[in-house]
Amino acid sequence: MTESTYRIQGATGEWEVVIGLEVHAQVTSNAKLFSGAATAFGAEPNAQVSLVDAAMPGMLPVPNKECIRQAVRTGMAIGAQINRWSRFDRKNYFYADLPQGYQISQLYHPLVGEGAVEISLDEKNPDAQTKTIGIERIHVEQDAGKLMHDQHPTMSYVDLNRSGVALMEIVSRPDMRSPAEAGAYLKKLRTILRYVGSCDGNMEEGSMRADVNVSVRKPGDEFGTRTETKNVNSVRYVMAAIEHEANRQVDVLESGGTIVQETRLYDPDRNETRSMRSKEDAHDYRYFPDPDLLPLELDDAFLDECKASLPELPDAKRKRYETELGLSAYNAAVLTAEAETARWFEGLLAECAKAQGKPEAEVAKAAANWLLSELYGALNRLGKTIDDSPVSQAAGAELIALVADGTISGTIAKQVFEIMLETGEPAGKIVEERGLKQTSDTGAIDAAIAKVLADNADKVEQYKGGKEALFGFFVGQTMKAMQGKGNPQLVNAQLKKALSE
């Protein structure tokens, strides 16, 4: 556990920042929480609205089991207590995007209780600085619709596509002490959600957003009064909003003011938070148990299935990559940071093991290195994600195998990969047709060496006079003379021999 040293330097001394996040994560499900309507992003307004979502008279909610299942699996993934008995409550308020006049949520008896998420504060060395962020609860609730104010000169339009979509509200303890910790927590949470498959974590499309609770205090003091900044929709904005809000609070306190408990909005264009409403005009939501719904009771069979369907989670996977596959902590962390990357890597690993007829542990390092340097570089250039990689796992494995068995050198492999990207042809064919095979013929190597040494007699003199760093120069020249096809080990060996003569 690492104590944060993040402090705001005020006129009266140092201030510590206390942060808690309430993350709203849209549950991945084909249907809404209490209706059969679809949930796809980007549909025409009001194309995905059932009678229940529009709160037509006499309509009743029926819980969607898949949404409950996903929330339970998420809870299990953060080691949380799963409540076998939970209940839905109504949160009552009037707004045009809330057709029922209440949101069905869980105040008194949430589905998921206490859990925790471990974050790493140093990406390069993920085992070095870790911190555990407590999770207070996860409850499920309905999303609201959306108002559109730009469709008519005097009226607002309502789009109910989101109305009734299932959200998980993941409430952390006020355990974070810096914007960086909050950012790391959000990223880690998103990784876990994506591994579990319970939320796509897509903050741009609004499927994950955070309410940010911030307060400041002199180190060691009691918690200060907090403000809540609503609906911040990117990791970067969350960090910026915290930094801004914490500084604002310090300014207020140091100029003799007090912090009022209030709801604020973050404006990313101006990088500032603005007051939305204070506690005095806070709604009285009149929560009470929803009488249309029975308490949610989970049985062993359901919980067992949820447990059994959980994938290997990022922390466990990262540790396994280090211990069983022998990868560096950094590489293991990068490969496991996104579920898609890990999935792709494991596919590549299987193909490599097959292609080379070796256990995965023996081919893992080369596979990881190729993926993180060559493939990632190419994807970045092409603006593609790993899931739409132009090179398949099998094709990558074939290329890696050619290096491993000495058919081509690493340098040639880079060229072959470029050709693969351009033509889509397999590595073996490229190497064969373009004659890129590595030469282990010592006669050809020696001839090339002889020419290089003859052409650079002055440097040979310097080398022999003690300037041994020139050895690399001779290797490079020899390889160049052989169009990169010389077996590097043999070129080294033969050069050493020739120079010592």
């Binding site: 008279p57 006499g58 819980p63 009552n92 006049g101 009149r286």
Partner: protein, 494 residues
């Protein structure tokens, strides 16, 4: 030839099945009665073509030699709380003006499937909030009954299912749907000399029924006798996956199970229902009911439901609390009435729409409900009321160790005159005092006519049963019905 409109559900079905008369003849006869009874204001909307179309479909089935369903050829009245496709559903409130559902409530669909047709939408207390039908936005229903004092004072048909009760007793329909949240089937049945049963909570789907108080609302049949109630209850009941509180249980054939032989049964008389200052005629009919049940073979035992006196206050917290939230959807945004004053914003539109759209009793209950759920009062009212509700349910659970059904009056008086209670909400709420305990416990309960009081007005007897024991309730009702020999009907003045 008998007047077809004197026939009940079983007789119509049997006659249609036997070919004694056609379903069309039945529908035509009742359509005519509906059309000439405007003075009662029982129907908000007449749908004669719906009744005829359903009748024709049944007649065609019969002609084709198909088996006819259990309510074949029976035209019914539909309480305005039920959504039916294409017919305005307003819960007798202005706020739903113009709202024509595109969907069919589960219960009404089941009735159409059982061979019923719809004569029209029945008037009621607005959003089922009331015991006299005076809260309807479209004028109160007038009971077909009159006192025998020669005065023609208009009487309440009871509520909230007052259109249903008036229409059945005036022979405008052989049966009708009702809903019962705190007595809304039983009290109007008692006031008009008909029968009605509220089944166990969850027997009838609430899907498509405009909600008042979700944890209490329960649909049920109202008809002329116990057998007709049994038939119609079977048609209305059944599991509905669209209602989370629906009971996933098979529906018994209650008609086949009818038996007025109560040998070996014990009937409990809850002593707490015998309240100070009880109307002597009510007390007398109650005693008579007990005698009849003894005569049918039952043993009569006195039992105790100690928390009875807390039931009414608890009910008038829980029901308004749920209503205040259930009625939030009537905001003028998506359907029904919208009042948009010049230059109004969203909040102004809400205020104007709800001020104009809801009647005073609905507003009163929304305000009560909002108050009891608000911060600082929730525990003192709502939480406390839920505790009382649990104690009431426990009272009943304990009483079933000593008896099979309970006998009690349905209402504390016979029908009162319109206007007599309307300026005193508490007096009006007291009408439900015998009805709400069974509602809070979700138990089946029915009212059957016991006799007439000295003014010539019907008095009802209430039977409350164990959870899911509608059969026991119907059988005790049948035993009373056979012995009471209630044949009185209102003289036609409309």
């Amino acid at each position: 030839m008998t007047d077809l409109t004197d026939l009940g559900v079983a007789d119509i079905r049997n006659g249609v099945r036997a070919g004694t008369f056609s379903a069309r003849e039945v529908a035509t006869a009742f359509n005519a009665n509906v059309a000439e009874a405007k003075a009662l204001n029982a129907f908000l909307i007449d749908t004669p073509e719906h009744a005829l179309a359903a009748a024709d479909a049944i007649d065609a089935k019969r002609a084709a030699g198909e088996e006819l369903p259990i309510m074949a050829g029976v035209p019914i009245g539909m309480k305005d709380l039920f959504c039916t496709v294409g017919v305005e559903a307003r819960a007798a409130s202005e706020i739903l003006n113009g709202f024509k559902p595109t969907y069919e409530s589960t219960v009404s669909q089941k009735l159409w499937d059982a061979g019923c047709g719809m004569l029209g939408k029945l008037n009621m207390d607005q959003f089922a909030m009331g015991s006299s039908n005076e809260t309807s936005a479209f004028g109160n229903v007038i009971s077909p009954w009159r006192r025998n004092d020669g005065g023609n004072a208009p009487l309440a048909p009871g509520g909230s299912s007052g259109g249903s009760s008036a229409a059945i007793s005036a022979r405008l329909c052989p049966a009708a749907t009702g809903t019962d949240t705190g007595g809304s089937i039983r009290q109007p049945a008692a006031f008009t000399g008909i029968s009605g049963i509220k089944p166990t909570y969850g027997r009838c789907s609430r899907w498509g029924v405009i909600a008042f108080a979700s944890s209490l609302d329960q649909a049920g049949p109202m008809a002329r006798d116990v057998r007709d109630c049994a038939i119609m209850l079977e048609a209305m009941s059944g599991f509905d996956p669209k209602d989370s509180t629906s009971l996933d249980l098979p529906v018994p054939n209650w008609e086949a199970g009818l038996s007025s032989n109560l040998k070996g049964k014990r009937v409990g008389i809850p002593k707490e229902y015998r309240m100070d200052g009880m109307n002597a005629e009510i007390a007398a009919i109650w005693d008579k009911g007990a005698e009849w049940l003894r005569d049918a073979g039952a043993e009569i035992v006195e039992v105790s439901l100690p928390h009875t006196r807390y039931a009414l206050p608890a009910y008038y917290i829980i029901a308004p609390a749920e209503a205040s939230s259930n009625l939030a959807r009537y905001d003028g945004v998506r359907y029904g009435q919208r009042n948009l004053p010049d230059g109004a914003g969203l909040q102004d539109m809400y205020a104007a729409t709800r001020a104009a759209g809801f009647g005073p009793e609905v507003k009163r209950r929304i305000m009560i409900g909002t108050y009891v759920l608000s911060a600082g009062f929730y525990d003192a009212y709502y939480t406390q009321a839920q505790k009382v509700r649990a104690l009431i349910a426990r009272d009943f659970a304990q009483v079933w160790e000593h008896c099979d059904v309970l006998l009690a009056p349905t209402a504390p008086s016979a029908a009162f005159g319109l206007g007599e209670n309307s300026d005193d909400p508490i007096a009006m709420y007291l009408n439900d005092v015998f009805a709400v305990p069974a509602s809070l416990a979700g138990l089946p309960a029915m009212s059957v006519p016991g006799g007439l009081d000295s003014q010539g007005l019907p008095l009802g007897l209430q039977i409350i049963g164990k959870p899911l024991d509608e059969q026991g309730v119907l059988n005790a009702g049948l035993a009373i019905e056979e012995r009471a020999g209630f044949t009185a009907r209102p003289g036609k003045w409309w």
